[in-house]
Amino acid sequence: MIVTATSVTRRYGTGEASVDALRGITVGFPAGQFTAIMGPSGSGKSTLMHILAGLDRPSAGSVVVDGTEIAGLDDGALTQLRRDKLGFIFQSFNLLPVLTAEENILLPLSIAGRDPDRAWIDQLIDTVGLRDRLRHRPAELSGGQQQRVAVARALAARPAVVFADEPTGNLDSTTSAEVLRLLRQAADEFGQTIVMVTHDPESAAVADRLIVLRDGLLAEDSAGTAVPATAPAPAGE
């Protein structure tokens, strides 16, 4: 397993006004698998993903990413983890407008101060089909092109896992299909582990496995294992 969550709960706020976004989720993501997370709005999809990615902390439970328990990590260690092991694709493309497409792709490597593996980057650029757009700035690219840059950026550092939160949410159906095909290709050709939150069943269909959340609980998992709702376990720290 690249990522495992065990009895993860997340409560927002306190007292009367508190919301239990996650109410005890145990799930694992094996290497090379492309997982889609679905569920109604407010069911906790984004919350789960943020916690898996170390962007948010669980109220209780444990999350292990590539062998590291992240529950107790401080900001510096989490930053290092994101830098080394994780890739992100956001709904709004979130590119830096001041950098060119190529610079945006290389951004995670530049941040980490690592030298890019040119062959890998070239392969990525060809895969996302942006070779003739490398010198352009995001403002000069279409939405689909921008999201393809974002995909390439997420893959550039060869992360252990790529998280995508509704990556096609802002795209029309044609460009959506392109981006999904890219993700699929990443999983197939590069063995990339991908966790993607989506609203759209057609998008979810591209994935290897489908997880459905409902009211902060794991409702279905196409991996077959019937997942019973677990009560929040006491924090393992």
Partner: protein, 849 residues
Amino acid sequence: MRKVALSGLLARKTRLALTALAVALGVTLISGTYIFTDTINRSFDRIFQVSLEKVDVVLTPDDDLGGEDRTTIPLDRALLRRVRAVPGVATAEGVINDPNGTVLGNDGKPVSKGPPTFIASLEGPAFRALEVVDGRLPRTDGEVILDKGTVDREGFALGREVAIQAAAPKTRLRLVGSTTIAGATSLGGATFAVMTLRDAQRLTGKVGRFDAIDVGAQEGADAGALVRRVKAIAGPGVVVRTGSQQAESQSADIRGGLSILSTALLAFAGISLFVGAFIIFNTFSITVAQRAREFALLRTLGATRRQVLRSVLGEGLTIGVLGSAAGLLLGVAVAKGLKALFSTLGVDLPSSGTVLLTRTVLVSMVVGVLVTLVSCLAPALRATRVPPVAALREGVAMPETRSSRLLTPLALVLTTLGVALLALGLFAGSGTNAALTLVGAGAALAFLGVALLSPRLVPPIAGAVGAPLERAFGLTGRLARENSVRQPGRTATTAAALMIGVALVCFASIFAAGAKQTIAKAVDSGLRGQLIVQNQSGFGAFTAAAGAAVRREPGVAIVSPVRGGQTRVTGVGGKSRLAGIDPASFQRVYHLRVRAGGERAVRDLQDGQVLVTQDFADEHGTRLGSRLRAATPRGRAVTWTVTGIIEDKAGLVGPLVVPNPTLRRAFGVTSDQLTLVAFRPGADPGALKARIDALLARDFPQAEALTAEQFKSAQRDQINQLLGLIYALLALSVIVSLFGIVNTLVLSITERTRELGMLRAIGTSRRQVKRMIRLEAVITALIGGILGLVLGVGLSVLVTRAIDDFNLAFPVPTLIAVLVASGVAGVLAAVLPARRAAGLDVLSALAHD
């Protein structure tokens, strides 16, 4: 709509505070200056009133043309006799009140280096205003009472001897008491030594003569009528006033002196407000752009343009009022600070309570609010041009205006106009108020022009500055540079605010370096003697007896006194400095280049003849043989023929030079300003200097003998002190511009919250975020620094062109330091914004819109 404006304000407290501060600091200096000078004026008013309370009429020599050191031609005993005979005069008494004394402290050095020491005679009980605090009044010759301020400062014990020097060599008097006037222990740091009339006359070299005659009227006599009768017998060159008129006139003198200071301080307040205006303009421009959606929404909801305008101006008004009020209050503290500053410089100014006049409140508030409103007018007008439809569109940009296309030509026109005005002020008029105003306005316009031009200059300069940063810091450097040129106008305005302060700092330092070098060169090339004797204070006269004593020292070949007075020359505005020299010896101790009239013009200078400097000649069309009519303090005029035109780079003698006897006879000047000393060949200069030092310390501690090197360094010290003061005042406007950098960064960070969230999400550390913000601030600050440096250099080249014989010198280390300091200032300005940016929560930053 008002609610909208106010809620908008409260939502942005940091920005509100920073923007208000941009106005507040300038206003602080305005109100501080007024409070400071008003408080001092009022204290002095009281002191003079009390000290002249019992005097009905007073006679004084006309001091309009008194020497630069406040010397006047004393009144004589015959006049006192005539006054006593005037009908209506009950009592009349001659008094001494000479400001050129020196009281020596425990260390044998003068107790005061700046403010004067008065040698005064003890008035009779009819006129006496002294209050004895400790001890008693002097009863016999050889006794003295000092002001309590000096006694306390020096820790003098009653009964001990105090050394005092004025015209006579050092004399010891027994200290019998300490005194105050009108309850004031300190009179601007001035020292008062009060003794018997006989002692005072002897010490000041005025035996049988007086500095003033106090008159008491007979019961029921009208003071006004008495003044007229006394005037009739007083003759020319004597001023007759009632006691209260005299108090007013003394107050007016103080006010006049202080007004130079307050004008200078207000000029610095103006600079700081000018800088503040940039900050306010920039802040409003940014927020109006950020709130374009909001304005559009208001418009779709039916708000008129005028309402939008009012809401933005309302915000400006609030900031203006808050900032000005804060500045007004801070001014009280600044006034206290100024007083403290002056007392560390040895000028202990009296103050009785804090004087806050209505004028201070009005000027501070009106100026502060007006500056704010004017600065936010353009952004407010911009806000009204947001079309309602913008509310429905994603990513609205502010409408491009015609004015932005006209910006570059306008900037060029402004810059040119500014430089033209500056040049006009410098070259056409000289030193007059109108000319100075022209120079100021020209500089302001030039600054504005360059500021408007600077959006075009930002990308190249940012590129040049950013390249090394990028090399050193990689991605963070790269992003910092890119971010700084994202909105060149914004960066330009922010940098331009700093540019103004930096330009003026560079200007001042270049100017000072030039002045030092000019003096040094003149001394090096002009001085032929070995020593310059001057007053310990660096200015002011000292007794000619000092020079005479030095002359008697074996090994001394020549002692050549230079004296100073003032005159009014017909056809020349204002007063002119008048120097007296000893023609026979002057050229042997100091080489004055003679441009016309021949080298012998100096040695042959006689009564009735005058030498003028080239500057004076150029300005007033004076030629060899021209005749000048000069007014004397005795109320007469003398005519002199110009026999030589000289060059005086060091300003040693000044525009007009006459022989010393002329200065003594017509102007009553008998003391020396400088005494130049030459040694005999073969004399051991070190040993001789030591003997002269000892001689002066023993008998004439008021004076000191300096070698050329010491003299130059003393001059440098004086210039440096002034320069330090100027730097301190300019620091205020630099601080304002730093707030501008903080403000711009904070606003830009808000705009880029989502980007920062993304950067953090994909692995950027807090330190990297901080560094990125810091480098952006450094780039902005360095743009300001570079523009300021260039402008400062340009300005000083232009200004020094207007001054003849000025050696332009560039203090390269200082200029580099200024540039480095601007970078460091950028780092400082980035502290808060960087912390803010790094502290952003990744998730909420990502969700930010």
